[in-house]
């Protein structure tokens, strides 16, 4: 995302700090995207519980979620998120869905999971690769 695009998303933000007040990450003593919005340099866009409270309380209707996603694509992902990307490219799901899953489902009387084809994943996520994903 270019600086102009980021500035456009930030338009309206008065740094009132309401977003930071409701952020669970901030209350736990860490610094999320809401610290960035309040003009601070120390924060990680990956430290977020995706609860959407910040955006809900923003009196200016700032699209905090989109700002965070744009920032994430510029920062190194934590290993847990990287692993999800690898799974998604392999199984079409964020978690590995292997034989044991279907055995457990059968035990509970549930139908087996029919996975998406690898070719369909490639069509949908064209150009996406692990480790190069942020580019």
């Amino acid at each position: 995302m270019s600086k102009t695009e980021l500035d456009a998303l930030l338009k309206g933000c008065t740094q009132c700090g309401l977003c930071r007040e409701v952020c669970i990450v901030e209350r736990l003593g860490a610094h999320s995207i809401t610290s960035f919005l309040c003009g601070e340099e120390e924060y990680s866009s990956w430290l977020c519980s995706s609860c959407w409270r910040c955006q809900e309380v923003c009196p200016q209707g700032v699209d905090i979620h989109s700002i965070m996603m744009a920032k994430r694509r510029q920062e190194e992902p934590p290993p847990g998120h990287e692993a999800i990307l690898v799974n998604a490219l392999r199984f079409g799901y964020a978690l590995p869905i292997e034989n044991a899953v279907n055995e457990l489902r059968r035990f509970h009387g549930l139908e087996p999971v029919q996975l998406i084809s690898k070719q369909a994943v490639e069509t949908l996520l064209e150009g996406l690769e692990a480790r190069k994903a942020g580019e």
Binding site: I24, V25, L28, A30, S44, W46, L47, C48, S49, S50, C51, W52, R53, Q55, E56, V57, H65, M69, R72, R73, P77, P78, G80, H81, I84, L85, A88, G92, Y93, A94, L95, P96, I97, V101, L104, R105, F107, H108, G109, L110, E111, V113, Q114, L115, I116, S117, A120, V121, T123, L124, L125, E126, G127, L128, A133, G134
Partner: protein
């Protein structure tokens, strides 16, 4: 008989078949039949941090449901949120054409007719029928954990009060159980945070769990919440300060009040005995 396509999401598929099983069983009492979506993929949520193509996955899933002629019910807040936002974004004709171009190569097309509802929303639309199906009043104190993403952002989800949600409490109250207030009720469980920072995620969970400590049972309706309340509770108990509390998903609790066999709800005998004594 109404038929809906069920989108359990990866967490429920991989680790929580009991939640899916109880949902199917309880909805059957309401005359609602669930069908799987063969070939479905991730809702797209975890990919949004990497690429704009997360929407392609979400819309692919919706196109599959459309092909089946079904609306969609989700069991996870995260999936409800992502599928709904992707659908809302399709009002952009350029984006919609691009996604449909990719879908065409898979023999699919998105038209936008399939509705997406989280299980809480679906159940909220059937409160009267649910009330009639309750045969046993549960003498339990219940702490509910609201799935954040099923109700926010309100401009897309359009359901319940986004900051003081009530829908889940109303459903639990039908069972005769007492819904207890607790300080961290509106706080996120921390499960999604765990992926980026284990310590922070567990600390969020510890605060939530210790705040809800006075309840007999914790009730959730989301793959992420269920993961935190049940699996991570074990980790937290090892480090001390947390008492063991039973965890049920919303349809499991409803099923108990409907007198459904605990096996059919995926509730283990020990938990069943603890919660409803020898009357099972």
């Amino acid at each position: 008989m109404q038929t809906l396509a069920v989108f359990p999401g990866c967490l429920v598929l991989q680790r929580m078949p009991q939640y899916e099983k109880a949902t199917i069983r309880v909805l059957r009492e309401l005359g609602i039949c669930l069908e799987n979506i063969p070939g479905a993929a991730c809702c797209g949520a975890p990919l949004e941090s990497f690429t704009d193509r997360w929407r392609y996955l979400a819309i692919y899933d919706l196109a599959l449901a459309e092909q089946m002629g079904r609306d969609v019910v989700t069991l996870c807040g995260n999936c409800a949120n992502t599928l709904s936002r992707a659908k809302a974004d399709m009002v952009d004709p350029g984006l919609r054409a691009q996604v449909n171009q990719a879908l065409e190569r898979l023999g699919l097309r998105f038209s936008g007719v399939a509705e997406i509802k989280h299980l809480i929303r679906l159940l909220s639309e059937h409160l009267d029928e649910l009330r009639e199906k309750v045969t046993r009043q549960l003498p339990l104190r219940v702490a509910v954990t609201h799935p954040c993403q099923a109700i926010r952002p309100s401009e897309v989800m359009g359901f319940d009060d986004p900051l003081q949600p009530e829908a889940m409490r109303r459903i639990v109250e039908l069972t005769g159980a007492e819904v207890v207030d607790y300080e961290a009720e509106q706080d996120c469980c921390g499960s999604t945070l765990y992926l980026a920072d284990e310590k922070l995620g567990l600390e969020a969970g510890r605060r939530k769990l210790s705040s809800a400590g006075g309840a007999d049972v914790l009730v959730d309706a989301c793959g992420n919440c269920q993961l935190l309340l049940e699996r991570f509770q074990g980790l937290l108990r090892q480090s001390g300060g947390i008492e063991k509390t039973a965890v049920l998903t919303l349809p499991q609790l409803l099923g108990l009040a409907m007198g459904i066999d605990t096996d059919d709800l995926g509730i283990g005998p020990a938990t069943a005995r603890e919660l409803i004594g020898s009357s099972v």
